[in-house]
Symmetry: C2
Subunit: 373 residues, 2 copies
Amino acid sequence: MIKTEFFTLEAKSGQARAGTVRTAHGDIQTPIFMPVGTRGTVKGLWQEDLERLKADVILGNTYHLYLRPGHKLIEKMGGLHKWMTWDKPILTDSGGFQVFSLGDLNKVTEEGVIFQSHIDGSRHMLSPEKSMEIQKSLGSDIVMIFDECPKLPATKETLRTSMELTLRWAKRCRDYELQDHQNLFCIVQGGLFEDLREECMERLQELDFPGFALGGLSVGEKNEEMVSFLDSFAPKMPEDKPRYLMGVGKPIDVLNGIRAGIDMFDCVLPTRNARNGQFLTKHGPLNIKKARFKEDPLPPDPTCECPVCKRYSRSYVRHLFNVGEYLAGQLITYHNLHFYLNMVREARTAIFEDKFEIYYKEFVKDYNSQLHI
Amino acid sequence: MIKTEFFTLEAKSGQARAGTVRTAHGDIQTPIFMPVGTRGTVKGLWQEDLERLKADVILGNTYHLYLRPGHKLIEKMGGLHKWMTWDKPILTDSGGFQVFSLGDLNKVTEEGVIFQSHIDGSRHMLSPEKSMEIQKSLGSDIVMIFDECPKLPATKETLRTSMELTLRWAKRCRDYELQDHQNLFCIVQGGLFEDLREECMERLQELDFPGFALGGLSVGEKNEEMVSFLDSFAPKMPEDKPRYLMGVGKPIDVLNGIRAGIDMFDCVLPTRNARNGQFLTKHGPLNIKKARFKEDPLPPDPTCECPVCKRYSRSYVRHLFNVGEYLAGQLITYHNLHFYLNMVREARTAIFEDKFEIYYKEFVKDYNSQLHI
């Protein structure tokens, strides 16, 4: 099948794809879910845990690492890989999404975005060049262009104006010289308007990026709208390049993305919900806070093979959560990432066997049974 | 040397002792430090971490587990070992110390102590029988008698009155039927008055307990007073039984205790200080918050063989601590327990080689160099 130095498409089942992304820090087998390590750590896990989970790639956040401890410090310490002792691939976002959602009083100009830090209110400017400078210092394997992220619903006019800005910024990012090992992904915007999205994608293709991301989804639109958009749009994306759906999503959202032909995903859901006491299981979410788990000797998910489910009971983890012991968050985070990574590995196997649709339907049926509600 | 079914004294070096305590859940090689697992967990560590640390025995707190989740629940779940999935020895305290230090408005009567929960203000009674009932439900291998814990300084008269009460309570504890595998330790009180302590110990000996603890130390007296008391008193304690110094202490306090002939120790210091950013090292404490560690690529303790020091840098852990990532506490907790457990294992080896005094002096000299201050 299609093979470039950076990406190999190895199998298809319907629109679902299995492939390999090659980076200086190792291969990423797709479809893949990337755990989010916002501030140089996936909350509550040792790097050893991530290795044990066989996480192929993790995500770091440009906005957070720029503010604390600062990209210059990380660069001085040898880059993000060395500093956090993670020698497998890292993808960094551009900081764009965070300046729009976390920073206060932001002001968008042609140059970039002026924003106030959510930590101390200090004023900063993030621009295409600044975002590239930071990500270059971090030394991530996959770098994202700096884009504007409009909230949905938005008018077509708003979205077009924003898209034009994103395209001008994309060119400025492409013109910035990164480290040799870094790969710059572009981000297709345009809301739910397929014509806008197609135009955006075509104009980005002229700039020749090694990977294509979809931004601005799961930001306010209905879930069916996203699924229907993905089903129609994803198959039209360049076949010889990895396709990344940013910030999405729930387990079934990820499977819907794979089904439409997306290769890469990230989301804070498995880690954030863990800290709120939510185990994700084959039969839907399980809220460990519930009184009925008080004396329940079963593992959180009896069908799961992870070390948490092999050892600890619902009764014990519920107690930890209820008294505020952080170990609850640590254990549930581990389990939830195991759940996501196991899901995408199973999907990959099903694609190679050309049985993705069967896998998908069984997964959705089990998951929607919501046994633990 | 001296051998009973429960305890074997295997070597001596000066007054320092090496031995083995035998329990239904495995042997404890002494001298030993017991990590504190207040609410059924050593904060921030998986049970797998404790196994990796080769912790021979951990401590559970009767007061906390009685209030949440309740001893009856733990009993129903098969006991503390099974519930928290820890199949090595567990020692539980009696709850006495906590009702005096954490409970509000406590009232001491001959029957026991009436106190208000520090969680919700509800009223409870802890008595010798109630403490035994709770510890029986928990199923710990070593059970502590319920004693009164007077604060120092205190008058001799106050201490004598308190000691007499503790002796009457000790007898009531001894008369309570525990589980077959449980071993009940008595607690010698009497402040810094050796004649009171000796009288207390002699009268406890008549009640025939398998182990002797020293309570009421490190509760307000000067450090030199404790050391001098231990040097004089510990060697007079029964030689054929394990000797446990409760709630002590800093690394050098533990070594001073070993030097005086104490076998068992517990303290929240290595775990609590970890959560405040303090690494304990061969050359004294290292406060990771300090600005000078910002760009320091060295391991927290370059002489340490633990997985934290083998992998992570001061710069990285400082960042984690400063932004409030709990991973800092997890890593420092692991290191600090490694430090304590390594220290008592080295002490044990030195005792077998009859070189404890040399080990002690080198350790104290290195530690007091306070390199990291």
